[in-house]
Symmetry: C2
Subunit: 141 residues, 2 copies
DNA sequence: TACCCCCTTCGACCTACTTGAAGGCAACCC
DNA sequence: GGGTTGCCTTCAAGTAGGTCGAAGGGGGTA
């Protein structure tokens, strides 16, 4: 199967601008062109793009992803380095999820607090203005 | 208690550059100055900063955070809008965590795959070069 | 007085897009 | 056949959110 840049954008949930950016920066080495110079993507390109999206979404810089793709093309002897990269990315992603869960509980606390005020019409009347609804720490929520 | 910008940076896990950036952009309205024009932070400032960090980390643009802080200062009548903002942020954060978990399973699959190759010295010998170690979709992992 | 360290402001730089301008090719409509 | 639509191209400029360097000042200690 072959796809236009718009089809790929829709499938992957990213913009055509972003795809062109990745292509222009050498991260999609197998993409072909048709007779009008338009980019033509196949399933292999989609799989490359899928892993690019995965690594970007988990915070790997474009330059590192480029390096990883180079390693893949260099063959088996680069497996240990690739392993280390993925290990690092795994740990980073786990900490990111942990951090987001902490922040989520802070936000949950706010949502509940506001819901309470709205439902029970219960303003914090005895607290000075600049301390009303003061931000909470992650721990309190 | 009062704190220097460096103490605050350490406590919050962000750089002094970032704190100055937030202050310069009006997001820390209560920060004082000492006789040498140095910024002086108190516990109330820390709590504001804590929620700024929480909202930024969960993807809220600086401009929206600024708006939220304005709402807090305007008083009780803005509670419904603040509630909507936090609801939106809650949903966004939940989807972000879901997405990260999907990406994590892709990465886990890679890590396991590489570990297998390294431990068992088992190259994918019968697969053509540009398909070796091809990226997997989130579903396969 | 010299040195060191931390602070300040201002402006430049960086990453990863995002958008705009200018123009080409093709397909449809009348 | 000419006009319009619509997608594509390239290249350059703009944006968000920091990040950093230069230049300079204050204060403490030797």
């Amino acid at each position: 199967m072959s796809y236009t840049i718009h089809e790929v954008a829709q499938k992957m949930g990213i913009s055509t601008y972003t795809i062109r950016y990745y292509h222009d920066h050498g991260m999609l080495p197998f993409v072909k062109r048709d007779e009008n110079n338009n980019r033509v993507f196949d399933d292999n390109d989609l799989e490359w793009l899928n892993i690019i999206v995965c690594l970007r979404a988990t915070g790997m810089p474009v330059e590192r992803i480029h390096h990883y793709l180079d390693l893949v093309q260099e063959g088996e002897c680069t497996v240990p380095e690739r392993y280390e990269m993925m290990k690092t990315q795994q740990e980073r992603t786990l900490s990111e999820i942990t951090a987001l869960n902490k922040h989520l509980s802070t936000i949950n606390f706010k949502v509940d607090h506001y819901a309470d005020i709205i439902e029970n019409n219960k303003p914090d009347m005895f607290v000075p203005t600049n301390l009303r609804d003061k931000p909470t720490t992650d721990q309190t929520a």
